[in-house]
């Protein structure tokens, strides 16, 4: 089976075959023979050339194609695409085509909206302040541009993934 994995913006080709606990894989042409044990859901103990890698695979809450893989105390955000079946994520989120969508990353309450419709903002300027878990978090604009949409008002309750504002 061949998969495309994206990690930190770079694409990698992963080819994998399994016969019980024996796994043969190629990652960008690097060949690995791995002894793999899955004793618990999502936890894979890999032994490759006697080195131990305990890997925990978690599915992301927001986007389903994105996985979080922890190896020991290191963590990787991985997006998998199966050329045969899955449709890759078309970068639906953040800054597609010069437009920045300001998205709520967790549930909370809007405390203040810091910009007005049509205003010009700098990259890094605060757009909305959301309070959750007793902390006020200022959500900043990833780019300089003009506020073309404000979708929430102070006092509103928002969920993770809600569109708060758009900067173009």
């Amino acid at each position: 089976m061949k998969l495309i994995a994206e990690i930190a913006g770079a694409q990698h080709e992963v080819e994998i075959g399994r016969d019980r606990s024996r796994v043969v894989a190629q990652v960008d042409g690097r060949r690995y023979e791995v002894e793999a044990l899955a004793s618990r859901p999502g936890v894979y103990l890999l032994l490759s050339e006697d080195k131990v890698y305990e890997c925990r695979v978690e599915r992301g809450a927001a986007r389903r194609e994105s996985l979080e893989v922890a190896v020991g105390s290191h963590a990787y955000a991985v997006t998998l695409t199966d050329p045969k079946r899955l449709r890759g994520t078309s970068q639906s989120g953040a800054h597609a085509g010069g437009t920045a969508q300001i998205i709520a990353q967790m549930p909370g309450k809007v405390v203040r909206v810091l910009v007005e419709m049509g205003a010009e903002v700098e990259a890094g300027a605060g757009v909305v302040v959301v309070e959750a878990m007793k902390m006020q978090n200022e959500i900043k604009s990833p780019k300089a541009g003009k506020v073309t949409s404000i979708n929430v008002a102070a006092g509103a309750t928002v969920n993770a993934g809600d569109l708060l504002a758009v900067i173009e």
Binding site: M1, G42, S73
Partner: protein, 510 residues
């Protein structure tokens, strides 16, 4: 001694207090909001009372519901933990009025130390040095501007009713003052129901060092030495240690004496903490405030002095004298605590609520993990995102750091983001290892880290580790695919393992 204690709190501190109750043969009673029905602090209690919906104003902050529960179960005393109602004098008074024992100081002592302006006045009166600034809440932005101009920038804006760094703002220039003043007031109002703010001279490169004190009802007041809490993020402590890396017996003695003086001035009883700023250069110290409750970071003092502070709180509340004298307090070795938060350190420490799918707590020599959650638990958006306190002890600070590094590497939490990766970097930081701490540590640490990241090359080991991550991800996908294809077909042992895994994975997706 009490037979039954109601614990008016949740999370790790409720668990901590329940453990002390168990040690003493006292039956612990929990209260819980609708969001906490299956929480660990409920599971470890003998009885549990639901006190309202998830938001804390509708549950953990409802004084009458809590006292009602205590009366219903015939508890003799209430332990408030920290946070929520722990520093609410009205609560302490209401508990006393109901004929129950409040495990903490009197409402009067709490009121005197409860606002920073009043506490500061008491400190000045009893001869404890304070930081230059106002002792009364600011009436307006104009007043703030005037006072700040008096001793010059940087200045610090602080919520009068605050604590834990909430409602604190550093202002480095007059231009920043208007927006900071507004934000500080609004955060103070949101967090404490009191928008009063005061202003102080900001001391540059100060160390935040606090003294644990303990007083009984028989006039004995002692101190248990200091905790250094200079490592703060957004003015909130994240790493605390005992002793301070300064480890100066003379300074400890002088600060301890000052703290005891402040406690005596308000006829304090129970556990309390007097916070100071200490100038790293001159070793001068300034009274900041007094916390009239158990601190989050109490375990480091416990590890070094051997005294169980919660047990001592309960003893003292029951009228017993302190179980030790000042001259019997001895400090042995070094302890460090990390507050593990459900926050994403790679994303500006944004809270990361969600279900904990996997949990491996560290263990072994010198490691104490005070957790408030178990695998399967939901970290709710309604409460403070701290999921555990990891504390370590070592014969020396070096050994403590070694054990902390090991424990952090062993610690695994799945399903939510935590501050563990951030701590793993800190324990490898040269300044931290050498104990060069002040309240500006974190921002300098971030600068160092970013500089280091830019110059680090990717080694062979890193590539291989990353490739293993990709292989694990692919295996997980493959497993789910095969599971979908061969659902319900008879399978052998090894395959059924994979099958279970795949099934759970699908389940999680749905």
């Amino acid at each position: 001694m009490f037979r039954k204690i109601l614990i008016a709190n949740r999370g790790e501190i409720a668990v901590r207090v329940a453990r002390a109750c168990r040690d003493m043969g006292i039956s612990p009673v929990a209260v819980f909001s609708e969001a906490d029905a299956g929480a660990l602090h409920v599971r470890l209690a003998d009885e549990a009372y639901e006190i309202g919906p998830a938001p804390s104003v509708e549950s953990y902050l409802r004084i009458e519901r809590i006292i009602e529960a205590a009366e219903r179960c015939q508890a003799e005393a209430i332990h408030p933990g920290y946070g929520f109602l722990a520093e609410n004098a009205d609560f302490a008074q209401a508990v006393a009025d109901a004929g129950l024992t409040f495990i903490g100081p009197t409402a009067a002592a709490m009121r005197l130390m409860g606002t920073k302006t009043s506490a500061r006045r008491i400190a000045v009166e009893s001869g404890v040095p304070v930081v230059p600034g106002t002792t009364d809440p600011l009436s307006s932005l104009d007043e703030a501007r005037r006072v700040a101009a008096g001793f010059g920038y940087p200045v610090m804006l602080k919520a009068a009713a605050g604590g834990g760094g909430k409602g604190m703002r550093l202002v480095t220039s007059e231009e920043e003052l208007p927006s900071a003043f507004e934000t500080a007031q609004s955060e103070a109002a949101a967090a404490f129901g009191n928008s009063e703010v005061y202003i102080e001279k900001a001391i540059e490169r100060p160390r935040h060092i606090e003294i644990q004190i303990f007083a009984d009802q028989h006039g004995n007041v002692v101190h248990l030495g200091e905790r250094e809490c200079s490592i703060q993020r957004r003015h909130q402590k994240v790493i605390e240690e005992c002793p301070s890396p300064i480890n100066d017996a003379d300074l400890r003695e002088r600060m301890g004496a000052a703290a005891v003086k402040a406690a005596r001035a308000v006829d304090y009883t129970g556990a309390g903490t007097v916070e100071f700023l200490v100038s790293d250069a001159t070793r001068e110290f300034y009274f900041l405030e007094m916390n009239t409750r158990l601190q989050v970071e109490h375990p480091v003092t416990e590890l070094v002095t051997g005294v169980d502070l919660v047990r001592e709180q309960i003893r003292v509340a029951a009228g017993e004298p302190l179980s030790f004298k000042q001259e019997e307090v001895a400090w042995r070795g070094h302890a460090i605590e990390c507050r593990v938060y459900a926050e994403d350190p790679e994303n500006n420490f944004l809270p990361s609520p969600g279900r904990i799918t996997h949990l491996r707590s560290p263990a072994g020599p010198g490691v104490r993990d005070d957790g408030g959650v178990e695998a399967g638990a939901e970290v709710s958006i309604y409460y403070d995102p701290m999921i555990s306190k990891l504390a370590v002890w070592g014969r020396t600070r070096g050994e403590a750091v070694d054990r902390l590094r090991r424990a952090l590497d062993e610690y695994a939490v799945g399903g939510i983001k935590t501050t563990l990766p951030f701590f793993r970097q800190i324990v490898r930081d040269r300044d931290f290892i050498e104990g060069r701490l002040d309240t500006g540590f974190i921002s300098r640490f971030f600068a160092r880290r970013d500089a280091a990241a830019a110059s680090t090359e990717v080694g062979e080991d890193d590539t291989k580790r990353r490739d293993m991550a990709l292989i694990a991800a692919a295996l997980d996908y493959l497993t789910a695919q095969q599971q979908a294809a061969s659902n319900h077909q008879p399978q052998g042992q090894e395959q059924s393992r994979w099958r279970l895994s795949g099934r759970m994975a699908l389940h999680r997706r749905s």
